[in-house]
Every structure is written in C-alpha cells, then in structure tokens.
Symmetry: C2
Subunit: 886 residues, 2 copies
Amino acid sequence: MSKRVYFFGKGHTEGSAEDKNLLGGKGANLAEMTSLGIQVPPGFTITTDTCAEYYELGKTMPEGLLNEIQKNLALLERLTEKGFGDEENPLLVSVRSGAAVSMPGMMDTVLNLGLNDKTTEGLAKRSKNRRFAMDAYRRFINMYGNVVLGMTHGDFEHEISSLKKERSIELDTDLTVDDLEELIRRYKAVVLKKTGTSFPSDPIDQLTGAILAVFGSWNNDRAIKYRRINDISGLQGTAVNIQAMVFGNFGDNSGTGVCFSRDASTGENYFYGEYLINAQGEDVVAGIRTPEPLAKLEEVKPQQYKELVAVKKQLEQHYRDMQDIEFTIEEGVLYILQTRNGKRTGQAAVQIAVDMVSEGLISKETAVLRVTSAHLDQLFHPMIDASKRKNFRSVVKGLNASPGAAAGQVVFSAEDAEDWVQQGKKVLLVRNETSPEDIGGMNVAQGILTATGGMTSHAAVVARGMGRPCVAGCRDIRIEDKKLIIGDTIYNEGDYFTIDGNTGEVFVGELPLEEPKVSEELNIVLRWADEYRKKSPRASRPNINVRANADTREQAENARKLGAEGIGLCRTEHMFFSEERILHFRRMIISSSVEERKAALAVLLKYQQKDFEDLFEVMEGFPVTIRLLDPPLHEFLPQDADQIKELANITGVGESDIRATIASLHEMNPMLGHRGCRLGITYPEIYDMQVRAILQAALSVSKKEIPVRPEIMIPLVGTEAELKDLRARAEAIASETLEGNKDIDYVIGTMIEIPRAALTADRIAEHADFFSFGTNDLTQLTYGYSRDDINSFLPEYLEKGILTKDPFQTLDADGVGSLIHIGLKKGRSVKKDLKIGVCGEHGGDADSIEFVYKQGFDYVSCSPLRVPQARLVAGQSVIKDLGAAS
Amino acid sequence: MSKRVYFFGKGHTEGSAEDKNLLGGKGANLAEMTSLGIQVPPGFTITTDTCAEYYELGKTMPEGLLNEIQKNLALLERLTEKGFGDEENPLLVSVRSGAAVSMPGMMDTVLNLGLNDKTTEGLAKRSKNRRFAMDAYRRFINMYGNVVLGMTHGDFEHEISSLKKERSIELDTDLTVDDLEELIRRYKAVVLKKTGTSFPSDPIDQLTGAILAVFGSWNNDRAIKYRRINDISGLQGTAVNIQAMVFGNFGDNSGTGVCFSRDASTGENYFYGEYLINAQGEDVVAGIRTPEPLAKLEEVKPQQYKELVAVKKQLEQHYRDMQDIEFTIEEGVLYILQTRNGKRTGQAAVQIAVDMVSEGLISKETAVLRVTSAHLDQLFHPMIDASKRKNFRSVVKGLNASPGAAAGQVVFSAEDAEDWVQQGKKVLLVRNETSPEDIGGMNVAQGILTATGGMTSHAAVVARGMGRPCVAGCRDIRIEDKKLIIGDTIYNEGDYFTIDGNTGEVFVGELPLEEPKVSEELNIVLRWADEYRKKSPRASRPNINVRANADTREQAENARKLGAEGIGLCRTEHMFFSEERILHFRRMIISSSVEERKAALAVLLKYQQKDFEDLFEVMEGFPVTIRLLDPPLHEFLPQDADQIKELANITGVGESDIRATIASLHEMNPMLGHRGCRLGITYPEIYDMQVRAILQAALSVSKKEIPVRPEIMIPLVGTEAELKDLRARAEAIASETLEGNKDIDYVIGTMIEIPRAALTADRIAEHADFFSFGTNDLTQLTYGYSRDDINSFLPEYLEKGILTKDPFQTLDADGVGSLIHIGLKKGRSVKKDLKIGVCGEHGGDADSIEFVYKQGFDYVSCSPLRVPQARLVAGQSVIKDLGAAS
C-alpha cells in the first residue's frame, strides 16, 4: 500500500510542484511554496490515487487512511501549536478539492472545520471576538450541511430570513452576537429535522465527512460537465487539501487579497491586485465592500507589502510565468494561500511571452507555446469591450457564423444598407437569409444577422470571406415589414443592435467595441513560430506552410499582410455573385444550347481572367490554388417572381421557361447533388472556360515578370474516372492556351472531400499533382450531417455528451481523421511527394492543425484573419514534436 | 516467337475447346468440333495474342504473320482441293472475329473473300449458277468496302437504289444477272471515287486487309461500350477465324438452318429449329422467306436430318449444355458452322438444369450455377410477353423503381383508383409523387407511375415493399386536370397504358403480359442452392442465411413461402403511414409537451404491438430485425392546405402552429438531417414506445408457445455514444417490460450506414449484438450522391463511362466495399462472433451477395420477391468458393 497523505509545513514537506498528478495543482503548489520557504498555512494533501481507490471500493474510505490522516493531524497540531478539537486553542482547517487541472468552483470546499459548541467558545476567547467566532460557526454549519449532509443552501437561508424578519433588520451584519447564537441553534435544529441526525460535533467525524464529500464531488454533474466542455480527460480523481485556517478578519492588523505578478489585461510588468483589511476572501467576492488597490497596501502595511513583493518575485522566477496569488494577513503575518499561472487576455499573453524572453526567464519555444490560438483570436476582430460587457444581456442567440463584434442600426435590405451608409450611418444588415444580390449591402454593413441558414449558408460563407462579423440562423427573430420582432417586442428600422460573431449573441443597443491591436510583440511571436514551422523533425516534410482562402485582391493582400504563403482555396463561384456577373451566369444556366452557353461563358471568361490576374499579382509566385465551380447551378438562379421577370426581360427567355429550368434543377438534397466535378463532366464548357481564364491570367501576369504558380483544383471527385477525364480536358485546354510557353508551371489536383475519394486515393493520386482535403464536406459525409440542418440536434448532442465537440469546428480525429489517414497513405503510396493540404474551417483550428501536421501535411489553408493563428499553432506543433520547450 | 495461327480441319487440328482464351470461343469450338469428327468447313484461327501484338506495334501487322497465314492457306487449299485465287476452282473464305467471350454483332465479319473478276467467273462456271456468283461478288464488294475500306453501307445502297429505279423494279431479287454485273461495275467505281484506289483484286491483299480490319474492330466504340455494359474485362483482343466458305444456296440440294438442342423457351427436351432450302444464313435473318420448322427437314432430307440429330446429341453430350447450332447443307453435305451454349429463358434454364442432372449429364453444383439471378427475376413478376414486345415502342422512360410489368387504365388519384377497382377495372395509378394517403390506391392499382422522385421516393419504396410494379421519376410526363401529357400528346383518364418496372419503360395501350410461373423444378434448384449455402468452406461462418425485408403479415408470409429465414429489416415507419395511424403520428409531432406526445404514442403503441405480433407469429422463431424509426419527422406531416386544416380541426391545434411546426422541421438536406437515432436521442419517448411495443408483442406471442427472436435495430448510428445511450435506454425498458421473463431472448444491434460507423466499428461493436450494413445510405454517403437527385447526372456518367454501374444496384466493391471491409474487421476484432448482415437493395443483387459472402457476412436481407434469387446466388457463391462445380 503506497503513501496516501503528503504533509506540507516548515521542515517537513513531502511533495513538490512535480507531483501535480498525485497531489493536484493546488496541493503540489502548496508543497512547492512551503519548500521555497514561503509562509503557507501548513497542512496535508490526500492523493488523487486515494480518490480513485475510494471509487474502486464503491465509494468507501480505504482502510488505513484515517490512521494516516490522524498522524498528519498530530504533526499539524505540533506545527501550529493548536489542538484539533482543543477547547482552549482549537485548530481549524479548510478542506478543499484540487485536481491536477484547475476546475475552479466545480468541486466542494468546507472552511472553519473543527468548530463545535466548545471549540467555538475557545475561538471566541482566543480571538477576543465573540461575534467573529459565532459567525464562523454558523457559516461552518451552513457550508457543511450543504456540502457534506446534502442539504440545500435554501434550508439555511430560510432560517436567517425568518430571524431577520423577527428582528426587523435587513443586513446579515446587523445580526447581534445573540442573534448569531440563536441562529446556530436554529441551524442545528434544521439539520436534525432534515437529516434525522444531530450535527456532528466530533471534529474527526466532521473531517471524515468532508473528505468523503470532496471525493464525491469529483463526479457531480457540474464537474463531469466541466471536464467534458474543457476537454479534460485521463484524470483519476481529485486530491483533498486539509490546511490550517488563517483569518484575515481578526481585526485591523489582518486582511486578505488577490494579486497578479503582471497586468493580466495588458501584460505590463506591473504588480497589480486588490485587498481588504479585516476581511475574509468571501467578502472580496461578495462585493459589499470595495477592495483597495494593492499600491495602497504599501502605505498601510509597508512591511507586509514588501514581503508580498518579494514573494511575487520569487514565485514568478520560480514558475517562470505570470502568477495569480491569493494571500491573507493574520495579525500582521503574511500567508500565501494559493499561487497559480494567471489567466490573461490575448494582448497580455503576447506581451508577457515576449518580455519574459527578453528577461531571460523563458525560451522562445516556451514563449510560442504560452500564446494560444484563442488569445490571437481576440486580437484580430473588434470585440465587445470586456469590462462593459457584463452590463448588457443578449436578447437572442444564433450561430457564431463569422467572428468579431459589430454594432449599428438595423436595416432590412441590401439597398437600404448601401443608402444608409452613403448617408454616413453604420448599419447591421438583417435578413431572413442573404443571396448573391445582397453582396453590396453585406460589404458596407458592419455585420450581418440572418434568421435562417447555417454555418455554410450564403451569409456565413460570404461574411467569413469578407471578414465581416455575422450571426446566422437566429431562429428566434422574425422580420416583417421592416420590423424586427423578438418575442413580443417589435424593433424598428434604425434601432441600434450589437452582434457578437464569436458567441452568436445579439444585443439590443450599441455596445462599446474594442478595435483589434496588432502589436510588434505579436509579430515577434509569430516570427518565432515561423522559425519552428520551417524546421520540423520529420525529414520528408521539413516545414508546414500556411496559406489563406481568398477570392479577391483585397482578401489576398490582407492574407499576405498576415503572413500567408499562398492561396490554398480560391472559390471561383464567389466571383459570379456580384451584380454584373450573375446575369451572365444565369444566362449561361438557362441557355438552351451549348452555343448560347458558350457565348455567356465568353463574357464570364474576361471577368474571371481579371480576378485571377489580381490574385497572381498579389501572390508574386506563391502558389494559388483555384477551385473550379463547386455549387449546384440552382444556387445561382433567382428566387422570387420579380427577379425571374427581370431575368426574362433581359435575356428574352420566357418566364415559364425560366421557371421550368428552376424547377428542373431543384434538388431534394443539394449537398449530395449535381455539383462540383459532376458539373464539370456534364457541362464541360464551364470548366473549360475557367481553366482557360486561369492560364490566360497566368500568361498575362507572367509577361509582367511576376512569377506565377497556378494550381487548378477539381472539386468533389469521388472516382478516378472523373479526375482522369477532367484532367485530360484541362491539359488539352492548357496546351492550346499556353502554346508551348514553358514559363507557366501549372499543376492539377483535386479536393479529397468525398469519403470514396479518400478510400480510393491511390487510384485518384495517379491523376493528381496535389490533394487538398476539404474537411467541411468530408465531415458532412463521414457523419451524415448537413451543416445547414445540424442545429436541430447538435445543441442537444453537445448537451448530452453524445458529441464532445462540434466536428465542424474541430476535426474528428477518430472518424474523419481515419479517412484522412487512409487517403494520405494511399495517395503517397503512389506518389511519394504528393503535396497534401487542408482547406476549410479546420485549417484555422488549433487541434485540427496539430492533427494534420502529425499526419504529414504540407500546408493548411484558412481564412485570412486566421492565418496568424495557423502560423502560431503550426509552430507550436513542431515545437511539441521536437520536444524543444524549456 | 510463339505460334500465331492454329489450323482446324480433318486430320490436322491444332486447337481445342480448352484454348478459348487463345483462339476465342468460336475458334476453340470449331477446333473442338473438328476433333470430334464433326464436319466443319476447315480453316485456321489467328490467336488473340496476335491481336494484342497488333496493338502493341501501333496497329501494324506483326512480322512473320503473313508467312504463317500463307502456310495455313496452302494446307486449306490441299484439304478443300481448291485454290485461293484459282480462276477455275476458287477457294473462298469467311473472315470473322471471335473473342473469348461472345460479343454478338459487335465486331466485323467479311464473307465470300477471294472473289475478283476472274475467280467470280470460275465460281459461276463451277456452280453452274452465274446469278449466284455475281450476287456473291457484289455482296463481297459491299461488305469489304464497309468493313475494311471504311465506306458506309449507304455508299453502296445508293447505287443499288439508283439502278432499281432505272430498271423500275422493287426487290433486289428482281435484278437480272446483267443488272448485277452492272452493279459490280458501279460498286467498283464508287470504291475508287471514295477511297482513291481500286478495289483490291489480289485475294492475299483482300485477306490481309480483312484481318487487320477485324483486329481494329476490337476497339471500335460499339465493342468498347458492349464490354463496359456487360462488364467484360481482362481480355487482350479478338481472334480471327479464316474458314472455307460453304454455300446453302447452291440449289435445292443445299440449305441452311439454326437449331437448339432443347427448347430455349420452355426447356423441354425437344429438338427445335428452323431451316431454308437453297438459301444462305442472311436470308433467314432478312425475313423475306419464311423458314420451315426443323421437323419438316426429316421428311425432305431424312439423311441429313439424321446426321444433324446425331451431331446435336454428340455436341450436347460433349458440352453438357443446351447447344445453339448453325448448319449449312452444301449439295447434300451437312456442315456445322458454329455451336455454342444456347441462350434461354428463366423457365428453360431451370428446366434444363434439373433435367440434365436427372440425365446424369451435369452435377447439382453445375445445375445451380447454370441458372442466373436474371433468369429467376423473370419468374417472379408478370412480364410483357416477350414474343409480342417487339410490336410496341415505349413512349417515355422513367426509373425502374419496382420490378414487373403492369397494364391498366390510368387514374390520377388514390381515391379514383379505389373507386375504379371497386367497379372491376384494372388501373395504373399516375401521380406526380405519392404520399402516405395514397397507400390504399397504390395497393389496389396494378402499378404506379410517378413524374418525380427517385429510387427511394415514397412511391418506389412502398411499391417494392408491396411487390407492385413501379416506374418512378418519369420526368417527361405532365399531369394536369386529370390529363396525362407526354410531349404534344394528351391522354385522358381511363386510357390504357402499360409500364415495365424492370426497364422503366412506359407504353401506350394494354400490352399482353405473362404471369410468373413457380415450378417444382425451380424449387428443386433452390433447394440444391440451399444445401450449398449451408456448407461454406469458411470454418467460422458455415452458412449464409437469406432473410427478407418485410413490414406486414402479408409480406412476411410471402417471404417465408419464398424461403426467407427471418426478417432482416422491418421498417417501422411504414406502419405509420396508413390512414388511421398517421393522424396519431402527426398529433405526436405537433404536440407541445412531452405529455401530449406520450399520449399520442400510447395509441400508436397498440398498433405497433399488433404489427409486431403478426411478424413474430409468421416467423415462428426465425429472427425478426425491427428497425426503430428512421425518417425525419417532416416526412409524416401534411403537405397541402386542406390537410393542414383537417389536422387542425381534428387535433384542436391552430393551423398557424401546425404551419410553424412544418416550417421548423424543414431541412435543406433531409438525407443528412434530423432522423434515425438522432430522433431517438432528442425524442426518446418515440423509441421507448417502439421498444416497448416490440417486447410486449414478443411476450404475447411467446405465451402462445410460438418461439420469438426479436432483434432491435438502431438506425443511423455514427458515434459510439449514440448507441451506448440508446442501448441503455432500451435495456431499461426491456427489464421493465419483461419483468424477468427469460423466454424472450432479444438482442440489440445497429445499422452500419454512416461512414463514420464503419470507421469506428470497433467502438460501436462494444454496444452492438449485431451489425446490419445499410448499403443504400452507406453508398449515398460514400459517394456523396443523393438517390433522389442522382438522375440529373447518373445517365451521363454511365454513358461516358465515369461509372460502369449504378452503385445503388450493384455494390461498389472499391469504395463502399472497403468501408464494409473496415467495418467488419473492426467489429469482429472486438466481438469475434458479431453477427453481420446486409439489408437494402444490394441484399438482392447477385454481385453484391457474392461480395458480402466473401467478406464473411452471416446473412443477406432483401425484398420478399428477391429471396429466391438471393438463395440461388448465395448457394452459387459457396459453390464457387468450394471450387466444386463439375
């Protein structure tokens, strides 16, 4: 039987920071601080192994544990010179949970344990503060009743309310000492009534109960859910920390506070914190009294302040990270109750990482690992001012379709949006759903809010491409006659609203926003990450590149500014949505002969060529992957009668013919329909035109002495024959267009987004120069989920734990990942050097990037604003792979 | 260099029937017959290897081939006592293709080769029939010009028409000898004009040209397409047969004919055939003269008839199969031109197989292999009378959604269908698409024709289940005001139409149908197949079972009659579609609370329990797999205003609320939507009710001393957590319902139809007692095809060879098959004895059954009418596996 209890206290500390798994984060740090000579209230920690044992034994106390606890208690009594249950000088302890990973507030805590009628009298005498002692006792009964005896907080709340009513007082603090004694009697009575037994007066019984309760709280619903949401697994239980109580409320020579070794908001190297004199930790939280800034402590208690600064320095040096420290001063003596690495904003994370490298505290590798993808996310979009956010409550929630916050006056049509913006107003465009005609309005709006549609709806896709915040599929809003109806409330055109594209929340009113700040420090961190991205230990793939998904010159420029090394996905269909082009595209669709279709395509060719020239020029020789037409044709056709009429007028095609075309193109499941390379096979003129436009653009840019690297990508391939056929056709067009010009080094590849393509990748690779995994569609098909419809069950699936994450956000390593693995292995079995990348949402997700890096991908491609995150995470993946952090 | 030419002729035959791959089917049989002593016009065969050589050399004649040919020609001259190019006694030859697998009419043939101006004179003299010689010559020029010189048949047709016009005659036979000589001159002139060179007069030049042309015809478009459609691959080319000509048109002592060693239509052991005196083979085909029945030959030419009967016997004994024989009598001498295994109807195939076993000609194994799945298909549905079919032409074509032919008067509503049938009429129900309300009408109709919808549309699924012929998705019909409009023609209610559900064809008028015949011989063959099904050489899976997909007592009874060993798929949702139930189901959907939903479900429970009791009773202890609710809820809701109003009236729920529910359940891609176990997770009451109904039914039937084996199947599982959750729930219901009754031995399993389920099958198997591969959905998701929409590109994909087969008919072994392989391997890696089956369309398809047998499946399940085919094919698979045929 191994050791179950570890003591910490001057001269007899058994654990250290190394023992996090065994002692939990809190216990390990308490031991570590004690060893460092820092004044920590002594105590002991019951190991996480013991918690596991408790569960293995069917939730009973392991034999011998109590004996070990008692030995440690004796040691604690000697060190504190107090006695557990001693009526003169009672030792009181706190009993707290503490897992290897911090789970704040999820599990249970009992304070002031050891009090009973007699020890309370002793405490009263020793503290010379009877009120303090009685208050501590009644709080203990309440807390213990709640945590250990399974009573509700309301059981006690009811008693205190009655008493206050009887006494005609309002605040707890107005209760007299007699009142508190009466309350203690009533609390004990209610315990007897509800549980059928008296409140335990033996401190050892109390302690045993509390320890078992903390063990039990490891598997309460809250804790299980927290671990699920935060992806915490592989832990065996919680440790239990039993620690001598210290009190900040012994009088004016006592106090308590919280401090950060650097500013958690800006990262500035400035000792920041708050404290209260004559108070306990919970008083700070309760907000009845306003805490003082830490600077003032220097004036009030210069000695203790000096000690605190020294401890702060020592801890930061020791842990080599910014510390979040809790302290208590008991009758002039400074105790450190807890230290942990502090949570920080994105800005602070970057600043602290860079500073600590200059200070020689950490290596560049560690600095890169210290900044998270979520930190960067904050830095590239306007955000609702965090300090003010709590003053507002969202009225309704949709899908977080495109990140960032936006505020403005609501308008209900794209035209109105453009008009209002012309007049100098800021608008939010609110639509049931958007369509290609809305592009102009979407572009001028601050953000977009739609009632229907999912994460791949037109609004969502276009907004992400534009970097415009968007909340989509907000089912609880209704739009009628230029009114926005939410529940029973009707809002008018021009009313101010704010949307948060990061959370999907919608607020009434104009909330204060913070603009994104791209600091020099950030660039430093990203350059460090880049260094590592280029020195992967995997011999055959020495670096992992980051590209952007971009369709326009503006997006491409932005992407390069943010460090993109090429375009991994240009969606050519987006180019057809603008007003002057959609007409020709529609003309092409409704044409009744191949000749008419070709005439319409000839017009589109010119537009496309210009678009591609823009991209090649901006990318200056970086690869540009252009995906040929992907969506089904019906997506381009007009929806309502007016638009049909207009199209009929312009083209001379009869309205009924247009309607017939629309009807004939209708599909039950468009996601599984006639799109992608299926269009390429059945309407070869379209792809012919696009290939010609790509290569003509390449030629024309190349003539300006700008190098070009076009990559032609064929979407939705499911069979070898599709790619073989379309490749042959594209090559024929190429040899016709390039006429032997050897400067244009084009390649032809395919998306791997159909399960069958991954499963037969060896055969497909015969005809492909590269693979780009389209993980959006691959996820849809592997799960059989439609992104447009998934909201009808996804929230409940996450809630019930059927899914732990939205697989469209984070790549499903088990299912989709195994198809990727098969596809990559089979592809490279035929072509060792086959270039392999990923485009789509997962290309910007941290876990997913690490997954594909480990698989051996050559690049990831994501939306321009996510390029910095991708660079960071790719660098981190290599650092972890190298085992290089220090 | 290996031997390229094989001679066949009395005393010097180099090949045999064994050499099919090298000499082609025709060449090998000619050699074989010669060896058997049968009188065959002698000749020689150029090997298929030589054809491959020709292609390898870039379509040129291999060196030395001509030399070898000339040696064989010399041998042929000696044997026939004629000279190739001899002006007195010319040797004429035919040059024919002949691959290892018969490809009738796909490649080229040249007859009468060796004729020129001089040899024709010789032929005229020797035959004493100048007209015959001239006619042969002009036919040769025409054929050679067409096949070898690349001219069109029209080039020659034009000349003969002109001449007939000049001579004012109508029939070719009216042309005089002079006319024919004139025609020969004109034919030669047109050859010179079109090709720029004279018609070759040197017989060796003629022969060389013909051989190269036959080689070339191996890769003509027709031949390539034929091989693709008939799934012929792995062949390297065609052989070329050069054979001395014999003529049946030398006079009244000559003749020609075709005969079958048994009746190809009924299988009766009766020598059946036709002949013509003084005629050539093509005269029989041309249909100008009516051939005489073979019996008459016995009177006219008793000696030759006797010889023919002897040859027939000899050949059938030798080949141990029914023979299709071509013969020619030249001046009293009987020549056999060709023999091959004869094509036969399903009825004949069964009869012949059984007879030949009794006759000791073949083994039972061989008999089972001789009957094909397609043969059986003919026997289980009414068919259009094959002999009369050619007199009708289909007016329009849809999807072959449910097999069999049906004729009747068209009606346009289910109510009308029921009314008309009440009046004793036969009707075809024609609808845009069918809905649950149409069930009654569908049931009384002869067949169903729909304008929209695919192979899994309501009409298609229900019709297949009912065994009702159905043509679905017939896009070129329109229905307006009780009129059926096809092109410009308007048909009225009551007009007769016929549909062929095997081909998708629609005919105007009432075509004669043949009823299916289930003979005792068929049962014998199936019992033999069953014997083999139960003795697979695969130790761990000694037999492969056949079950049926059935939802009702009637279907289940039919299935057992046809030999089903259980139900592999009972689709519980079909039970909700009948009129009195759909209301409760709708009430359940629109209920606003769990309580209301449960109340509606309580009513449905009684119906379901009764349904399941029916199935258990019929199946008497055979396993019954019941799939819990699968389709999305919106499929059950009313479609039009009247129905909504009705539902509102009955339920008291507001119309606008119903509309809101319908709108909220709308999905962009229902195939990928909120259905299957996703409903089970989000509306657990539904599955609870179904599980309870299953087990209560099991209990109640069990009390009647009838054994029951319920298998509860959870559909659309994609994650381990779904199955784990739903299994736990089902088990809880079970223990509540069964109350410890141990007689009910239920199991719980899952469909594997989501790619992710196959990819993570090891984890899913932990919670499954069986897997049933749902290959319909698995194919949809693996390819990313929607069965409802695939018709917009599938025909073109098949046409262009992108797909060689419809993957919904025949399992795609490469893609879907590899997922099945992964799923099975992973599943059995966790549970060695995991029972694995397949349900859905592929369960009745021959290739697919063989595939899953080889994978190690335990059973296949298909629609009741396909059970006999499945039994047959499963037995055949085992026989092939045993290598047992003889």
